[in-house]
Symmetry: D2
């Protein structure tokens, strides 16, 4: 960032009072002072939307009863919202995002982007046509040490990448009686065709891609629902092949009792390796051939520019989930500001292309699983 | 919090462009949307203050050249600041805080509060007379699991407290050539009579007191400066006695190479014990007689009301330093709102009394150390 | 053990001076005083065998030039060896073990048992006919907390087992220029048809089976050699299906730079889960639905009989690899003593059946990998 | 070791059936095959001694009813014991050790060596006169990574040592009703004038001395017994001053519920620091100025000769308590063999001088504590 930037005017679709992820987006937007929440269509009914808007201090006339009203209303105002955050259940991502993009808003959309690859590609095209900024909150790529890993891997520090292991372990859906947050995630009409695969598997895939730049060539997958009667997978494991010969392993689950939000990534190359774990995000384990293990710490010695730029506090003063999430929001704000100055920024936030890739990944995995785990090409 | 609260108008004294702690206060104030930064006297010269103000988007007329001007200017405005954050080097805490309190502002002041017990008590009296809110940013007491520890210890879960170990390990002042952040901290005219003791020892002491409620009865201390030529201690170790027979050990250092911000607390009682470490703040280790160790996690099962109230995210989505710091700011905002509603809140943020206690602690430690470690009564 | 047992007379085939695993077997045999090494055919040439025998204090006439001589010589002595340890490269396991069993010796044989399932079954039959004790040193099943896990899982503590993750990460074969220990392991004529799969994959599979009792129904596998020119796999990943519906994931590698001997097992059930890691073997992580994580420690509270029986030291006095290995040796000695007393023991050491299962596992994995990862039934 | 050494004939005083430490000594003696247990006076009564001897397979005539009989009997035999292990409660160390030394036996004696400095010095003189080997089982100095730390610190790798922190946390004596192992340790007539201080404090002090070579110049100590009615300290904390200006902190406790055998050492120098923890003994944390933390692992890259010599297994195959203890026994055996060959060995096992130092340390601490924590010179 060069000098002070006026806060961007933000509107939010979804994210009403009891929603987990809406509050996260608001904290992330607030942290660096780069956004001001000015409008919302926060819940699925007009009444609940307005109640949520009031609780957040929105002006009554900008607490809309529907997302359609929000887009129209804000479009019409001179001081209307510039950026739309979409934090609804998955099935609303596509219509809201498409309409917002077509109306010329910048968009920050939760993941997985949409239900089908066709929708994803339509959206991607709309973004290209509108020229707006479009970010997908693959928030884990906002962690400073993930950016450090990316810089190291892509800079060749590990040699040739041979093997990647991505794991995302959760246990909060182990019983089938988990309440609202669980309900829509396990309902195909709202969550889409994938359960854990879509909810957290796409995070794991994006992290692999973000860090390594490897291109998936094929997947062999096994999807399972362990909770009786559940309509979507609550567990997914798969083998991966990448262009160029690297191999991978990806496993995600929401029925592993005791695992909270245990996302892990390990990248093994011909000269070294890196390992990182989301629940202890301020440490990156770095191993080299025939040398003692090194622990790279956020804010500590030995880090490159990408990590430093994503860091607010000195080493030992831990940053965590919200700060990483805020790095996405602030990256979007930086990019918008750069574009307004006529500059081009190498933006590290995930874009609509990442969103498309996530949907393609889901489709290929579903296809492989439906075909008894046959290797399915990308 | 009950419903939406209008953001409080915040002014900041100190915290200009290169200052570490000023930025932390701003993030903490922003995170929950409870404050709006409206004014500042951010640096020690008018020019640098205004430059910093501009970089933060302050209106030029509210970016003051001195703290005196700030207090006068904001006092005079109808929409003037309601809360003053004081984030200067230590020697300015006293005059700024006293004037702010006497002018009727709420104050959030960094630690250690002031240089001498006499100053501290004068300030305490002023706060009592003004009836304003006065918080001291012993920010580590904002961590959810520290509040959980407090609830457990004070609720008798550990039985009678026997022994407390407080440690605060840093290494960033190991060489004597560390730059601006180090310079004022090791300069008695700005830092006060204590070095590491004041800078981090007071945090450790406050944590002990906050969690256990034990009252210090005597201290036997050894202060050292290991870096040649340094005017203040960069290392302090001491034995503690508490009223009622508990014992303690407290060690802090800023010359322990490799230690980043390694604050630890262990409390041992007759029926159980608790251990916590700031660099891994989302876990509280809980041991009971003849039972397996339990790991209590922020957001996880088994936590009491105090921890839950200080928590924003589900388990496994780590919260960290800024979130804990924000819990102080948000606690102050809650308290101000409650007072405005005519209600009384059991506020958990550290108050001027905690600040007074910290200064008293410093004085007693200095006294003991000057007397070759003799046990010195409180 | 009930009372003092005379040390068993032990002879060793393989395990000469530079051999890693031979020394491990000798430490394991010595630790509890239950064996006395009396004879050996320690190396692949008579000269080196005798040199090694001298270095170990064997009587010259009992330091044999070949394993054939050893079996014949010891058979002929009144004070001849009772137990034969086979610690040669894999390709010698079969002929030596078969001859030893047929000659009536008890046998402790390293893993993987033999090269082919046909050999394994022939050996199994020979053991049944001879009635001798036959152990396979799947040594990781000797760890006290692995036995605790077994007791808990089989006792239903976790509810129905849903998912198992077994990992065995090593990095010492990452370059292809690792010397003697590496050479035979990557040479099909000595190591057999599997590389990492046989060397460490069989350990992982046996651990799953030992702890859970689940029966493998099918495997879908991907074998890779990342080091150019290597004739055998140095990395193997696979998806598992078990009878009854449980699923699994197994990955092993010897090219993951920085990983030393990182064997891990996690078992997830419908009511709880367990996780264990070989490099930190004195802790077993136990999670239950809606309860704080517990850390079960070797020697600590809450353990069952199986773990206690395998434990020598109080909690906090760590036991490790050799102690676990010794639990196999001591288990064999206990079983021999029980048989001599005419008693039957529920022996927990791995037997020839475990060895057969390991070879079958290798064959199925090789078959699946050769068929592009098709699910291959057991 | 150069080539095969005949096992030394070992006799044991104390260490009968229920004794914890006797079994440890036997495992340690057995592990490397350097000792053969040939005789014992294992318990405090002749009957129990003989029962214990039978359980261990001793010849009846060498299972003595008293230590006096043992020394006399073994002295008289041509194949008599060469080394005497003394594993009795503390009050018997002095008479048994003195008599054994005077009779010309090599001795391995548990710690703390004796009750008083006068006894210690008398024993030291006897050892000098006899010319025998005398080891004190400060077993923690047998850990490979402690030897690595010693080599690094003494080799100047950390620069000038500034601060040392030694901690030994246990919780097993928290209630006062812990049974036999606790009873003698808390009985002054058997344990001596110190409780936790003698039992574990001497270990901590020896580790500091072994690693750093620093000479204690003064101590300021606080001893406490937290369990009502206990006659000896169960908790001790102290500040240390070393010749040359280094400072230290030492705390030990046996009432810290949940702590198993948590011995820790940190050494901070002007250029780097080291940290080690007994419960995770295969890792040594190494920090340097302005460089990422390194983890040195037993058997891993970057280790010096001292650690390598004390290592049996490759990295990742953990060694632990018994292996470290065995390094003391094997060091004694090596030294005896070297002397028999007329060579001189730089032996790293703790000697009678270390034992004397430990008793002196206890006396100074007791003196300081009795004088309200006054700094007491060495």
């Amino acid at each position: 960032m060069s000098g002070y930037e006026r806060p961007l005017r933000l509107a939010m679709v979804g994210g009403g009072k009891d929603a987990f992820i809406g509050a996260v987006h608001r904290h992330a937007a607030a942290l660096d002072g780069r956004y001001q929440l000015v409008a919302g269509a926060l819940s699925s009914t007009p009444e609940r939307s307005r109640a949520s808007g009031e609780a957040l201090g929105l002006a009554p006339e900008r607490s809309y009863g529907s997302w359609q009203d929000l887009l129209a209303g804000e479009k019409a105002r001179e001081d209307g919202a510039e950026v739309i955050s979409i934090v609804t259940p998955n099935h609303l991502h596509f219509p809201v995002a498409l309409a917002a993009v077509q109306a010329g808003f910048h968009v920050i959309c939760d993941k997985p982007l949409v239900h089908t690859l066709a929708q994803a590609q339509e959206l991607e095209q709309a973004v290209q046509q509108s020229g707006t900024v479009f970010a997908v909150t693959y928030n884990y790529s906002g962690y400073p040490l993930i950016r450090q890993a990316r810089e190291m891997v892509r800079g060749g520090v590990l040699g040739e990448v041979r093997k990647v292991i991505a794991e995302y372990h959760q246990g909060w859906l182990a019983t089938g009686s988990e309440g609202k947050q669980a309900d829509w995630r396990t309902d195909p009409s709202r969550s889409g065709p994938a359960g854990a695969l879509g909810d957290i598997g796409t995070h794991a895939e994006q992290l692999v891609s973000f860090v390594t730049g490897l291109e998936l060539s094929a997947v062999a997958a096994e999807l399972t629902h362990f909770v009786p009667g559940r309509a979507l997978d609550d567990d997914a494991s798969m083998l991966l092949r990448f262009a160029g010969g690297a191999k991978g392993l990806l496993t995600v689950s929401q029925i592993e009792i005791g695992r909270e939000n245990d996302l892990r990534l390990s990248v093994f190359g011909s000269r070294g390796s890196l390992s990182w774990c989301q629940e202890n995000p301020n440490v990156l384990i770095y191993d080299q051939l025939a040398a003692p293990r090194q622990l790279l710490t956020r804010g500590g010695p030995g880090l490159g520019a990408a990590a430093q730029q994503a860091t607010r506090l000195p080493a030992g003063h831990p940053e965590a989930f919200i700060e990483a999430f805020a790095n996405i929001y602030t990256g979007v704000a930086d990019d918008i500001a750069a574009r307004q100055r006529g500059e081009q920024l190498e933006a590290l936030y995930p874009t609509v292309q990442d969103g498309v890739q996530g949907v393609k990944f889901m489709e290929r995995v579903l296809e492989s699983a439906a075909d008894d785990g046959r290797w399915t090409a990308f």
